[in-house]
């Protein structure tokens, strides 16, 4: 096969695949831009007859979206920080030292990987009742942090193991302490793993649904995932607002993801190979 033809074919298939992945979100945008009366029309049309950009501004007053957005940010940000604070030292230590119980620790990480908040929602709910943490953001931060920890430890352990010890020893010779070597040598070199861990945790927490659905009661403590579906209930069907809000929630995260795409591949490599 001619090389030029091959490249053209690959590009063609590639663009079709890209289109396939984007189509639902294009439909999301088109629906978000339709006037409400057009949404009940049967059969529905493809394009809005009138591009109702005001849906994107009206939605802020139709529901406490700003508050929900802030809740989502606090929960996802808090969970990411907490996960990292716990996973970094553990993964680093396990990657650098052979100690008694290292195997057991890594096995624990692998096994807790199998626990998902969804599967344990009854237990999580009862625990939060016992701790008097229902309807608090702390509960959501704790749960999201804890359940993402195993994957982070796994990815970070892989990345740290891939950094040659000699690099750090060179830093020791230059007078750096252990912590100094960690921050100035190992962390920069294993940046892809750290970025993967951060992004993965943030996204998972940002999109978490079932725990928030069970634990959050007050409207001002609900993240977007729980607040958004209430635009479409048996009493009202504001699909245009639902998808306008969805896009407001999705777009920043997609941009973040696209920006770190290169690191992501590197981070996943280290995590799966080691």
């Amino acid at each position: 096969m001619n090389k030029r033809f091959r490249t053209a074919l690959l590009a063609g298939v590639g663009w079709l695949v890209a289109l396939f992945f984007l189509l639902p979100y294009v439909e999301m945008l088109l629906t978000a831009l339709k006037p409400e009366r057009e949404l009940t029309r049967s059969p529905g049309g493809y394009l809005p007859s009138h591009w109702q950009w005001s849906n994107f501004t009206d939605v802020w007053s139709a529901a406490p979206i700003l508050t929900n957005l802030r809740v989502s940010l606090i929960v996802a940000g808090g969970a990411t920080a907490l996960t990292l604070a716990c996973a970094l030292p553990a993964a680093y230590y396990a990657a650098r030292n052979r100690f008694q119980g290292r195997g057991a620790f890594l096995l624990l990480v692998l096994v807790t990987q199998m626990f998902a908040p969804t599967a344990l929602v009854i237990g999580v709910y009862r625990e939060m009742v016992a701790l008097n943490l229902t309807d608090t953001l702390e509960a959501l931060i704790l749960v999201n942090a804890a359940f993402n920890l195993p994957f982070c430890v796994w990815i970070l352990h892989g990345s740290f193991s891939a950094v040659p010890k000699e690099l750090e020893e060179a830093a020791f010779l230059d007078g750096a302490g252990r912590i100094g070597a960690l921050f100035r040598v190992t962390l920069p070199v294993s940046l892809p793993g750290v970025v993967t861990a951060v992004v993965y945790t943030f996204i998972t927490a940002w999109n978490e649904y079932i725990v928030a659905l069970t634990v959050s009661v007050s409207d001002n403590r609900k993240p977007l995932t729980v607040a958004v579906p209430s635009f479409v209930t048996q009493y009202q069907e504001h699909w245009q607002y639902l998808f306008a809000t969805s896009l407001i929630a999705i777009v920043p995260v997609v941009i973040l993801f696209a920006l770190v795409e290169r690191y992501l591949i590197g981070g996943l490599t280290a995590g799966s190979v080691k």
Binding site: A85, A90, M114, L224, P229, F243, I265, V273
Partner: protein, 309 residues
């Protein structure tokens, strides 16, 4: 913390570190992680098992021990076995389809062509987007009256009249599995892409010199070297797909009746709709044992002598 554990020095002077101190040395590093996992992950597991053995009223007060009553109640549910069967079909179908498609997709994203970066970004979108919101747009696209899927199929002449896709259990399940594959593809493809990028080019060089065909090279070199990626991808997917809640919840709520429930939505309905908390906990315990069994079987199946996973 400095000086407690300089890597490499421990071995050369073990006598200076008393046994206890040596055993406790990892603690400052591991304690935060252990504490978090213990308090927030393991407690609910224990709590769940304990709850499954308790008699709890619909208002949430504990009335005493229940022995195995919650489990016998659960196994007497006429819907249990269909739900279990459907869950296995759901997991196997979604994970297998996603893995096979991801192998192709990973290869495509690995190849060089103009616009590859943009295509990679597009493929990331369903991963970064919330699963819930993706499921909601599919539900809207499948809408009986205004959905774009009916409209396209009508305009193409494939259908004569609109179909209410999500009202028919079998069709609804297939569409939901499709959505599950759709949201699973990005992560799996990227894990496979990462695996492909870690294969050194000279391996292929050698194969070409030996005159191996493209297909043989793929089967004999690429696939075996992708084993770690496939392993991590499959395990994460099995767990996530098994526990997926938002897709089914937002598209059919497991209905009509229990006709599209998997164990996850079933567990939730027993607890929060029927208010049978103890029985729901029993279902969750069964659910967890199933995942554990599937992951262990999978690990066993893929572990061969010399495999590094």
């Amino acid at each position: 913390m400095d000086g407690v554990t300089k890597a490499g020095r421990d071995a050369s002077r073990p006598a200076r570190l008393p046994g206890l101190r040596r055993a406790l040395a990892p603690l400052p590093w591991l304690a935060p992680a252990l504490l978090l996992v213990g308090a927030v992950v393991l407690w609910p597991v224990v709590e769940m098992v304990r709850t499954s053995l308790l008699d709890i009223s619909s208002s949430g007060t504990t009335l005493g021990g229940a022995g195995a009553a919650n489990y016998t109640d659960l196994f007497d549910e006429p819907d249990l076995w269909p739900v279990l069967g459907r869950t296995l079909l759901w997991v196997a179908g979604v994970v297998v389809a996603a893995t096979v498609l991801s192998l192709a997709l990973g290869q495509l994203l690995h190849a060089r062509f103009p616009g590859r970066r943009a295509v990679r970004w597009a493929v990331i979108v369903p991963w970064a987007a919330s699963v819930l919101m993706t499921a909601l747009i599919w539900r809207w696209m499948l809408d009986n009256d205004s959905g774009v899927i009916n409209r396209v199929l009508l305009d193409l002449g494939v259908l004569d009249e609109p179909v209410n896709w999500l009202a028919h259990p079998a069709q609804a399940l297939l569409w939901m599995m499709g959505v599950a594959v759709f949201v699973t593809l990005p992560f799996t493809s990227f894990v496979i892409l990462a695996g492909l990028q870690s294969i050194p080019g000279d391996v292929y060089e050698a194969a070409r010199v030996d005159g191996a065909s493209g297909w043989t090279t793929y089967l004999r070199i690429t696939l075996p070297l992708l084993r770690p990626s496939l392993l991590i991808g499959t395990i994460v997917n099995v767990i996530n797909v098994f526990n997926n809640f938002p897709i089914i919840w937002s598209m059919t709520q497991g209905g009509p009746g229990h006709a599209t429930d998997t164990t996850t939505t079933f567990t939730y309905k027993i607890a929060f709709f029927d208010k049978h908390v103890g029985e729901s906990a029993a279902m969750a315990v069964v659910n967890f044992l199933l995942i554990l069994m599937m992951v262990l079987l999978y690990l066993r199946a893929v572990r061969r002598p010399g495999a590094r996973a």
